[in-house]
Symmetry: C2
Subunit: 440 residues, 2 copies
């Protein structure tokens, strides 16, 4: 008896722990990005509203069973960002229209034959052909990027209408009702998504771009300090944050696709040059690969002795601090959509520091030292020199964005510290938008 009681107690304890664990995780997720909580409430609200509409038969008097398509549309179309929701909604509406029209047409066409056996064969054949062709279309990269969901819904609507319509003999009416209810559901989802605390994919892409550039700057700053000290905490966040940048492509690509669906909002005008963000992302990643190489030298077991390293300290820290400042300025510039004026100066300084470093290397700093000992430091130095040109590339691509999007002149009253805070305070965008990108 006692043993059974103990067993139950242990089980209960375990369950308690599991539940509190989930609770803690939920709290963390909510704190990390409160928009997640808001999004959940929005979805709940939209679904409940459309469900009750349906329940009351309020405006659905004639819709009957078809009314459930409204609820379905809300559930399926409602995404985290406005762009994703709009994209799915528009895809669904147009695909239903096209699929429905083709389905009705096919039904009428087949009806002309008059004989049932031929009709069945023709219907089966047409569903087979259209479904197979449409499925193949999903492999076209350009189509897939923006209209994958639409093609799926097209196949769905076409087969449902062309085949089921035949039985009820109310094909046209049915197609019409389905389209109307889908429009109602889609409209409900889009309206709630846009007008209650909207989440703009474009804005998140913009923030992400700024924060990725900033992460590189933060690393360089920290690296400059860390490399010339005997013992440093290699696990500090500023030396590890850059790792998410390495795999950022999987997040940026869909965000750009979503952003293209979005209307003008905030500081983003219609036809904002979203494609340019891909280019900035590409050069940012290029820079991140180099930074990854630098990081390896920080953690490497084979090191140039510190007393030899210190000879390079001045020029190297000059480069890291100037590049870091330039990158941070660029990040602030992107974030606040202003043309940064001081970036130029930092880049010029970094270039001259690189020149000094080169000259320094030329002088034969370590006359009687084992060549092997100095290789790591020389490699770090040459990587730093390359990082200057990487920074220039990032600056160029950001400048191009600034021209295309007509960034403002910097506001002298703007508080740099506040802007910097804004760049840093980024909730983890990947998780919020449901991309399964994790750092290695």
């Amino acid at each position: 008896m006692e043993r059974v009681g103990g067993w139950f107690k242990a089980r209960l304890e375990k369950m308690k722990n599991a539940i509190s664990g989930v609770g803690k995780e939920a709290k963390r997720l909510g704190k990390e990005d409160p928009r997640r909580v808001v999004h959940s409430l929005k979805v709940g609200f939209a679904i409940a509203a459309v469900s009750l509409f349906y329940y009351f038969d309020f405006s659905f008097d004639g819709f009957g069973v078809n009314a459930m398509w409204a609820v379905m549309t809300v559930v399926v179309v409602f995404e985290f960002s406005v762009g994703a929701t709009l994209g799915k909604g528009v895809n669904r509406a147009i695909a239903t229209l096209l699929g429905g029209a083709l389905g009705v047409g096919m039904h009428d066409l087949v009806g002309f034959t008059g004989e049932e056996k031929i009709e069945v064969v023709l219907l089966g054949l047409s569903v087979f052909l259209i479904a197979a062709m449409a499925t193949f279309c999903r492999f076209f990269p350009k189509l897939r990027a923006r209209y994958d969901y639409g093609v799926l819904i097209f196949i769905l609507t076409f087969s449902l209408i062309s085949v089921s319509g035949y039985r009820a003999d109310v094909v046209f009416d049915m197609a019409y009702r389905r389209l109307t209810t889908i429009l109602i559901g889609g409209a409900a989802a889009i309206l709630v998504c846009i007008f209650i605390c909207p989440v703009w994919a474009g804005q998140d892409l913009h923030k992400l771009t700024a924060s990725n550039i900033d992460k590189l700057g933060t690393f360089l700053e920290a690296f400059g300090h860390a490399y010339f000290q005997e013992s440093i905490d290699k696990n500090q966040a500023s030396l590890k944050d850059y790792k998410t940048v390495l795999n950022s492509k999987g997040v940026e690509d869909p965000l750009v696709n979503f952003a293209k669906w979005e209307p003008r909002h905030g500081k983003f005008k219609y036809r904002h040059p979203w494609e340019q963000y891909l280019k900035i992302g590409s050069v940012t990643r290029e820079c991140a690969y180099k930074i990854d190489a630098l990081n390896c030298y920080l953690n490497s077991e084979v090191q140039t002795p510190l007393e030899l390293r210190t000879k390079l300290q001045e020029s190297c820290t000059k480069i890291t601090s100037e590049c870091s400042s330039a990158l941070t300025e660029l990040a602030i510039g992107v974030r606040t959509m202003t043309c940064s004026s001081s970036t130029e100066i930092h880049i010029v300084n970094a270039k001259s520091a690189a020149k000094n470093l080169k000259a320094l290397l030329q002088t034969g700093l370590w006359p009687d030292t084992d060549f092997l000992h100095i290789i790591p430091a020389v490699t770090v130095a040459s990587l730093l020199i390359e990082l200057v040109s990487c920074t220039v590339k990032i600056a160029d691509s950001v400048e191009k964005l600034a021209t295309m999007a007509k960034f403002n002149k910097p506001d002298p009253k703007m508080n740099r510290q506040t802007s910097l805070q804004k760049v840093k305070r980024i909730p983890s965008i990947e998780v919020s938008h449901n991309f399964s990108i994790v750092v290695d």
Copy 2:
């Protein structure tokens, strides 16, 4: 009149070109991976079959409108690989069962109150709460990775049943029918997917892993030749193929998730260690970042003069060729699921070549040369030395996989050339599985 005719002719010509362009692209996509064509035909067949089932009211006598859920399930669940299809199918079935049960339960519970106003409020509230909570659950990373689709379908079924059920007063019956038709549709999709030319996500992941390792080997081989020549074609494929490896994470993660759903097939036993592929992928990418750095030195404008470079030629090409052989052997080993015996030797050779290179650097090869001139070559040399340890890491992780998955001893009769061919002939897996990963 003539001008209108000309205009029409030009238009017609343009349309012709566009159509032939699409046709060419379709042909290319089909040739690149013929499984795409087969997949399209399979989807067409499954949808047509289920549609005709529905049409004939064959076994759907009692299902009525609910029968369309079978068609819908086939369209939505049928994915390129068996794992993805099984995952979606199981998710959909379980979620429909749970959502339906909870919907029926909620409907009964609310029915006890007796008064309609209270009922409406309770129903609306329950839909709101459950939808909001379930939506928030989608942000949990672990849940999302495998059950995202299920949660969506759960919300959908729950709201449809709990609200619409009330009106028809046939809630239980409706839920039962929906579940049955979904099971029929899901079964049709899964059977066609598994038994007609199946595409296994696990197999593709396996091939992808092997081909990624091989791409690194190919680069190293080509680099060894290219770096010590005056003018080379820097655009040759062998020097560029590695770039897809940099962004391979976005493809590997979902493939691992799909593979976990798959039953044993081919050489892959139940509980094949799919997670280990993520680890191999991670070290492969690490190696690819270094190779990207090497590639930069190949294309850099600042180069060590060729006559200085040649002093390192022997040791460097020894490292590249040994590492390349080791990587190629590893790729063949993974691809054919055999423990490669010669990898060990190549790695030992590479290590000793690295040692030689280090010793060579120590001797002061370039006594009276400008230090700045030799930095690029020294950096390349030190990168190559690091690549040896990267290769060791890859070899270790592959060996771990070999132990976990019980790879066979190598077959002496196995033709190395044929195996190598097999590793290379990889259709672009990313596009086939509908991942939108493109090279920068």
